[in-house]
């Protein structure tokens, strides 16, 4: 077991005007862990995720990240240049709406290849080769390599977005409702794909979802948020099978049986 957490969050607070979106959140994410953040809409999950990923500046608290080569950095004290470099090399971010995470005007191959080009790849054939490989890994037919994502289904777009993020071998992936808004059968495929990729590439991940089934399948640990605060956390099976907090018990009891 590693002795250094990958991500170390302390007393993170974010307000929007007078409204507290996220209050005094602290946790450690260890290498290889998938952490789920669950709670209903408006509970502060996505705000927290954006603060972790450096996309939103918190009002208080810190987010430390153990980089591959530069030691431990405070995400919000890094220069924007360094933070963006980190974001496109060591991190990934999978948006709920794939349109927010893809360039809809260029081909699937260009979408996957962008990160490689951004970090200096200048060999067309090799970039195309990596793009094809990743297209295969996310189970999209290779003859779609030069098609634009506008011609893709919702599930394909989401898988393309995943490939676009993972092509640079990130260590930490942030996911915001990656299967939200998709058909159940399409969801299952993406979940299974993500599960396989997380295992295969030893990814760590922070996953925001309101779907406890998704959390059960993909995450090792859960944090339950209500009104901007973390009200309960633990191993995923502990939280779902032995919920302690009234709100968590209500959430778990609200799952529709299949």
């Amino acid at each position: 077991m590693s002795d250094t957490p990958l991500l170390s969050v302390r007393a993170l607070t974010k307000r929007f005007g007078g409204r507290v979106a996220c209050h005094d959140v602290s946790f450690d994410l260890w290498p290889g862990e998938v952490l789920g953040i669950v709670g209903e809409s408006g509970s502060g999950k996505t705000t927290l995720l954006n603060c972790l990923a450096g996309r939103l500046e918190p009002d208080a608290g810190s987010v430390s990240y153990e980089t591959a080569s530069m030691g431990t950095v405070d995400v919000h004290r890094l220069s924007e240049a360094r933070r963006r470099l980190l974001a496109r090399t060591e991190w990934g971010f999978v948006n709920q709406d794939a349109r927010d995470g893809l360039r809809m005007g260029v081909s699937a191959g260009a979408n996957i290849g962008e990160r490689l080009m951004a970090i200096g790849a200048r060999h067309y054939g090799e970039i195309r080769g990596s793009a094809s490989e990743w297209l295969g890994r996310v189970e999209i037919d290779l003859d779609r390599l030069d098609d634009r994502p506008t011609t893709f289904s919702g599930g394909m777009r989401q898988r393309l977005q995943i490939a676009r993020n993972l092509v640079s071998n990130p260590r930490l992936v942030f996911m915001d409702e990656p299967t939200g808004g998709l058909d159940v059968s399409v969801q299952a495929r993406i979940l299974d794909l993500l599960r396989g990729l997380v295992d295969r590439f030893h990814l760590s991940a922070v996953l925001v979802t309101h779907d406890l089934g998704v959390a059960r399948l993909l995450t090792h640990r859960l944090m339950v948020m209500q009104g901007g605060a973390v009200i309960e956390q633990g191993l995923t099976d502990q939280v779902l099978d032995d919920p302690q907090h009234a709100y968590t018990q209500m959430l778990v009891a609200s799952i529709l049986p299949v």
Binding site: A188, D192, D241, D242, Q244, A246
Partner: protein, 232 residues
Amino acid sequence: MLPVLRVSGLNKSFVMHAQGGLALRVLEDVALSVAPGECLALVGPSGAGKSTLLRSLYGNYRPQTGSIRIRHREAWVELANAEPRTTLDVRRHTLGFVSQFLRVIPRVATVDVVAEPMLRLGATPEQARDRAQFLLSLLGIPERLWQLPPATFSGGEQQRVNIARSLIADYPVLLLDEPTASLDVANRDGVIDLIRQRREAGAAIVGIFHDTAVRDALATRLHNVALPGAQA
């Protein structure tokens, strides 16, 4: 033999917030210990908290107070209210759990479902697959099903897949929750053989066996579980 699992002063109650904070005391001051080669059978009436105890030992339920110590990586590790990553590491290397129900993973072939825990321990894909196929055939899962996801299997088949998955890694400590429920006699005997072999190889086992024949075949000791206050 010195014990590898020591439980003392374990208390667990469930607080039902939906019922106005009704507290249900299930475990009170439980103590037990198990040594390698032992199989401790939990006995007691239905609803006495046998499953709760077993799940608490696995770290699935969180006890309020008490201690669950387990030998892990040649040291004692406290499992009660442990850090999640500690519990995960113990489960990955030391502590196995065989339940009646398989949590189906969509689209993963049966043989890979079974092989996964061994892969995580660093076995090669070939080793893990070979072992998985051996266990599946031993448990009477027809070869034509191995490449299919177990989602569509019958309850008994799923249970046997789950047993294979839970027994593929040689965990030093095994927890069994009705491992043979709903199996026919032939398959039941196969499972009993597997578990007995594991016990004889030095595993420390805690189990719930409703079937007295299975209990007699496996248990080396009995441990009475009763609801708090029910003990006369």
